[in-house]
Symmetry: C2
Subunit: 289 residues, 2 copies
């Protein structure tokens, strides 16, 4: 399979990502816009928004429809896959989704707020039993026992896929409605996961009800902790540390919107998306191809 290469990969299709992708395309760059869900569920649930200048008294859903239509009219490559890992390389970045690999010369993180706190042990066992992508890492757990903790129904196909490979799959749905049943190797388990234990590798998952001996734990959230998707990214508390030009500590990586901190507001997000993409373009202009 050929790898598609873009000038700019925008991760997240909320207001910040759409604004970045829009101006990137207006400036004639090859832009990939990664959005695996439905363009900011949070905004779409807003009843009325009345402080985005020029669009008075509009529903969150109506606003998002206009935002998406405006951005997509400029034809970024909309990729409806979840980016699970970003690797920096010599000549840009490699982005992995559960189904494909992409390359981009610069990256804009517009991933929104991760409101789910990490599990104790999650960070230290990342890559040593903890994974955010069954398709990517499932084969490492062939004939072993694994757990899947999922905050969205996206976890169901991931668990079923693992069911084809692994001995036992314990599925912990943390959302409603919970699935009635999955394929026979997948056991739906009630309870709230609490922490992850092991020596050098994951050995068990502890919930509020019991313990499960497992070799792998897959965690499926609406968005993954961004510092785990892109190791080495420096945070400021719980948000991505950025400069005034929206650059992060990693050259070629920029951030915009809720993931850079409060206020969690649309105009802040679109403004930062714009600044981030112009900074990315300036970065690309200075870097020889």
């Amino acid at each position: 399979m050929d790898t598609q290469k873009f000038d700019i990969a925008v991760i997240g299709g909320g207001p910040a990502g759409l604004s970045a992708a829009l101006t990137g395309r207006v400036r004639n760059k090859q832009v990939a816009l990664f959005e695996h869900l439905n363009h900011s569920e949070k905004l779409q649930k807003a009843h009325i928004v009345d402080n985005y200048l020029g669009m008075p008294q509009i529903t969150g859903q109506g606003m998002m429809q206009q935002f998406v239509a405006h951005c997509l009219a400029q034809k970024p490559a909309l990729i409806q896959e979840k980016v699970v890992t970003v690797f920096p390389g010599d000549d840009g970045f490699t982005l992995l989704t559960p189904v494909n690999t992409y390359e981009a010369r610069s990256v804009i993180l517009a991933t929104g707020v991760v409101s789910t706190p990490l599990f104790k042990g999650e960070k230290s066992f990342l890559g040593r039993g903890v994974s955010y992508c069954a398709t990517c890492d499932g084969m490492f757990y062939k004939d072993k026992d694994v757990a899947v903790i999922s905050y969205t129904s996206e976890g169901e196909p991931e668990a079923e896929f693992l069911g084809e490979i692994c001995r036992n799959v314990f599925y912990f749905p943390q959302y409603r409605p919970q699935p009635a049943a999955l394929r026979s190797q997948v056991k739906i388990v009630p309870g709230r996961p609490r922490f992850i234990e092991g020596d050098t590798q994951v050995e068990k998952l502890v919930t509020d009800k019991e313990e499960h001996k497992v070799s792998g734990i897959f965690i499926i959230r609406q968005s993954d902790p961004v510092e785990n998707v892109l190791p080495g990214l420096v945070l400021d508390g719980e948000v991505i540390q950025v400069n005034r030009d929206m650059s992060t500590n990693i050259p070629g990586v920029f951030a915009a919107g809720d993931c850079t901190g409060k206020p969690w507001q649309i105009a802040k997000a679109t403004g930062e998306g714009l600044i981030a993409v112009l900074s990315a373009i300036s970065y690309l202009d200075k870097k020889p191809i």
Copy 2:
């Protein structure tokens, strides 16, 4: 005359100022919006703008009409006067215009870009012969000779007012069309002013053609150098130095839009206006009345 007191004074009615005033009113603060011209001439001259998310393919003028209508629907006090000086006080700020005095507990500078470079001597003689407001300072020059350098036709009534008080008024129009004649005490002079000389006070204005002995020099631009309007404001090069929350070095003073630096783009301006006003509100919440 009673002085009106506001929670927030927004200086400048372009996209940044309108966004700040809009959210300030949505948050139920008493907001004064100072705009003495026509809401960002620069944007209004833009043929088509296509990168403000949600408003595709719109003329600059059409966009500004929607922006102004949206903001004014929330009823900030629109004050069509030019703020010439801001004085910090114990309990907020005093703002002077040529015709009135206002008070505000916080200030948002959204004054746009000052593209006119300062004259040599302008900064050092400010308050010692150099003034930006004939109405404010004219009486200091009774029966003396003064110069008025003006970049807009707003200078004409200022010069005529000075003509009532001063002995001779030399008027240097730096715009087109130039006035054919003003009242008899006002002499319209060709030439481009170059620098200002004197010992402790202004003594003469030197142009590319000749020298004029004057005691006072009034300089009328679309917007005054903001660090002269608010002495003590720290700049970063030619733009206002701001933190990520759009605060400046002066407590209670925030800035947004083109006056904080590039990119000179609408989404950056509206986003910063939003952040600035939320920061101002947070500042007010912490400060006892």
